[in-house]
């Protein structure tokens, strides 16, 4: 009886839930139900941006000896945000010497337990200042506030928190082997996740007992400099982390500095190759997180509506400025037509615009140069005969924007299928068998990530085993966690970041 009543209750509740949904389409058909979102702007009052931003060396903000500054823009408006010091060779040298001195006199002598305490404090301070960090990140990078607030900054704190606990437990990370820090680590990070990449690099390096010279990307230096303030507030000893802002020449000076023991780089495969050659004749260690052209495979037995959301997240998250973006969509032929129709509908509903608006799905492209590159590749896709779809939504007059778009009927030989676009552009093609899907997915020099959607567990495990990629997301996409190793096969890089495996990038394990 009880069971029956419970069931009755349940079905009534279900009916109640379903009822309003049934009404919706009727109203939608009349065309009367078109809702516009009111703007919901995040306030920028919380952020104070210095006009001139200096280098962070030895725990202090100092003028660059080069006296050179460059401008950083707000990509959402194209307006000047701040001036940033450009570190020359002498500044990089000073930063490396400071890091060396600190390594030898302070950091390498400190117990792991003590190092860990600093990292825990940093993690907490990041959580406390999370809104400020998120707003600054959005202003400098152009990514939607929803993402910097809900993804980037929480992950930044999580990375410091996770690695803090490793600092005094490194002997358990590689049982039966001895571990020791490497020394001075040079780290060069990209503009797509400025703060998150800084955390991915700095947290494990410090936990393992190294000191750091970090070079942020030239278009997104501000959040790293705010992180420097967090380090000061946490009482992190001066010189443990040094930040040299600048462009390629600053990075080259760091890579080529003779007193750097290890280089960690995240960025394009082209630059990764240059760095690999530059350190080939040295004893420097090198880990690289490079580009990708990741395949997103949808089987006919997938939960298609969920898969659709996964595909949208996979390619349009962070304007597609994601090394592991699911930029090649492979659809099983039997569902291709239906899925592309769904995709069109869904893409048309994405909201492009002011990144500070909490309703924005797709913010600004990080720079004029990137936008130009994306436009050029889109044109190339059209020239090569891809079937182009782009919604007609309005975009702001100022700033750098690209509507989310995709090409269908793309073949493997298209530039679209081979080159990393690093923008909100998806290439769609089809397959007939899982074998063909795997062949197509692996038909790239990269090997960073891949997505699989199917409701059949056995199929997922089989395909996951055959894909040559470092991260496989099955029935999900773009999930990140400090405890989960991330990194690629082949030309997507060397080594892993995150988890126990990521520690080996910053330790000498014998």
């Amino acid at each position: 009886m009880t069971t029956k009543r419970a069931l009755d209750k349940k079905s009534k509740a279900q009916a109640a839930k379903i009822a309003p949904v049934e009404k919706l389409p009727k109203q939608a058909k009349t065309g009367a139900m078109k809702f516009e979102y009111a703007p919901s702007l995040e306030s920028t009052d919380i952020v104070r941006i210095e006009k001139r931003n200096r280098l962070f060396i030895g725990g202090k903000f100092i003028e660059p000896s080069s006296e050179a500054y460059f401008t950083s823009m707000n990509p959402a408006t194209g307006e000047r945000l701040a001036d940033i010091a450009e570190a020359g060779d002498a500044d990089v040298d000073l930063a490396v010497r400071t890091a060396r001195k600190t390594y030898e006199n302070v950091w390498s002598k400190m117990s792991g337990r003590e190092r860990g305490r600093y990292l825990f404090r940093i993690a907490r301070l990041i959580q406390e200042r999370s809104r400020e960090l998120a707003v600054l990140e959005t202003l400098d990078n152009g990514k939607p506030i929803r993402e910097s607030r809900d993804v980037d900054v929480p992950l930044v704190a999580a990375h410091f928190f996770y690695h803090a606990g490793w600092a005094d437990k490194l002997n358990y990370a590689f049982p039966g082997q001895n571990v020791s820090p490497l020394g001075v680590v040079g780290q060069i990070i990209p503009w797509n996740f400025p703060l998150l990449m800084a955390a991915w690099k700095i947290a494990p390096a410090l936990a393992c007992g190294n000191t750091v010279v970090l070079k942020p990307a030239e278009t997104t230096s501000l959040s790293a400099l705010l992180l420097a303030q967090v380090f000061q507030d946490a009482g992190l000893p001066d010189g443990v982390v040094n930040i040299v802002t600048g462009a390629g020449a600053t990075g080259a000076a760091l890579v080529n500095h003779p007193d750097v023991d290890k280089i960690a780089f995240t960025g394009s495969t082209d630059v990764g190759k240059i760095i690999a050659r530059a350190v080939a004749g040295t004893k420097k260690r090198l880990t690289l997180e490079l580009g990708g052209k990741s395949a997103h495979i949808i089987f006919e037995d997938a939960a298609l509506d969920q898969a659709l959301e996964g595909v949208i997240n996979g390619i349009y998250f962070n304007q597609g400025h994601v090394c592991c973006a699911g930029s090649r969509l492979l659809l099983e032929e039997s569902i291709a037509e239906e899925f592309v129709a769904k995709l069109k509908k869904r893409v048309a509903k994405l909201r492009v615009g002011n990144p500070l608006d909490k309703n924005t799905d797709i913010g600004a492209i990080n720079s004029a140069g990137e936008l130009k590159k994306i436009k050029k590749l889109i044109q190339l896709g059209k020239d090569e005969g891809g079937e182009f779809f782009e919604p007609t939504c309005a975009i702001p007059d100022k700033g750098f924007y690209q509507r989310p778009c995709f090409f269908s009927n793309v073949s493997s030989s298209f530039t679209l299928s081979r080159v990393e676009i690093f923008g909100p552009v998806l290439a769609v093609s089809t397959f007939r068998t899982s074998q063909e899907a795997v062949l197509k997915a692996n038909d790239t020099p990269y090997g960073l990530a891949a997505g699989i959607w199917s409701e059949k567990g056995a199929k997922i495990h089989k395909v996951a085993g055959q894909l040559k990629a470092g991260v496989i997301w099955a029935n999900t996409y773009n999930k990140f966690d400090p405890s989960a190793p991330f990194g690629g096969y082949n030309e997507s890089g060397w080594g892993r970041e995150g988890g126990r495996h990521g520690l080996s990038a910053y330790l000498d394990v014998r």
Partner: protein
């Protein structure tokens, strides 16, 4: 009627590519002499660039089949190699004593170490993924696990000046460790033990190892190094030696397709986890946990 002793049947030492024993397509040879004499003991092939490419192609063709095998099966095959090596002991010892002037005792120890390498990696093949893989405690409703997978097509080269009695076990350990995780390999043997290609190839050919998983070449390193380092379908290079110029060249040329160049000093422990761990890629798989 007995045949005079000097009319024994000498073995022609050829290359080992795709499970077969071809001569080098170039028709070139290198003469090996009995230690301290001008007497030709044997000829080995002087492999060409084309032989190298054929060997890599054979290994690529074998890749899918080998990495699909269960770890247990790979372990069984590796152990079979140890059994077959024991059967070739006399031949390996005699090559070490005749060509390399090793004492019988040293030569036997060298073969012992080579056999031990096969046994050691046979035992590791179905364990190292438990040692080096893990389940990641991610903060969300996901099951996320990380496992080592073979990096793919590996090329192995060795310094020529590694002491011969060390060279044989190093070659055995390198090949065994690289294939234990499911990689395929093409190796250019060190010149002082190039004649060991014959017994080694016979060991691999008779251990139920699929053809093409191991390919063995003899020749001049100086002639083949650049081609090997710049081959776009080789994912990783194992270099055993201490020459910094060679390392730099491998890394510089290898950067074109981001090869993993893994170097071991000649005196590094031949039986260790490092030799397996150097030739794997870690793959992290996520799946939601839901209703």
């Amino acid at each position: 009627m007995a045949i005079e002793k000097n009319l024994h049947v000498p073995k022609t030492i050829k290359l080992f590519i795709n499970g077969e024993f071809p001569r080098t397509e170039s028709g070139r040879h290198i003469s090996l002499y009995e230690h301290g004499s001008q007497k030709v003991f044997a000829h080995v092939c002087r492999a060409s660039r084309k032989d190298l490419r054929n060997a890599v192609a054979a290994s690529l063709a074998a890749r899918g089949e080998w990495e699909k095998r269960s770890a247990y099966n790979r372990a069984q095959i590796l152990y079979r190699m140890a059994e077959m090596a024991e059967g070739h002991r006399e031949e390996m010892v005699s090559l070490l004593t005749k060509i390399n002037a090793a004492s019988a005792g040293d030569a036997n120890q060298s073969v012992d170490a080579a056999i031990e390498a096969f046994v050691y990696y046979a035992g590791f093949a179905d364990k190292f993924s438990q040692v080096s893989g893990c389940v990641n405690p991610v903060s969300g409703p996901h099951h996320a696990f990380t496992t080592p997978e073979p990096v793919g097509c590996v090329a192995a080269i060795f310094d020529d000046n590694i002491e011969s009695i060390l060279a044989l076990p190093i070659v055995a350990a390198t090949l065994a460790s690289v294939i234990a995780s499911g990689n395929v390999v093409t190796a250019l043997l060190p010149s002082n033990v190039s004649a060991q290609l014959a017994p080694l190839a016979e060991i691999f050919a008779t251990s139920d190892l699929p053809k093409g998983v191991v390919n063995l070449l003899t020749g001049h390193q100086s002639e083949l190094l650049d081609h090997l380092a710049s081959h776009m379908e080789v994912q990783s290079i194992c270099y055993v030696g201490s020459d910094r110029t060679t390392q730099e060249k491998l890394k510089t040329l290898g950067a074109e397709n981001m090869k993993r160049v893994i170097c071991f000093a000649p005196d590094a422990n031949p039986t260790s986890l490092d030799r397996l761990a150097g030739f794997v890629e870690f793959k992290t798989v996520w799946h939601p946990i839901g209703h």
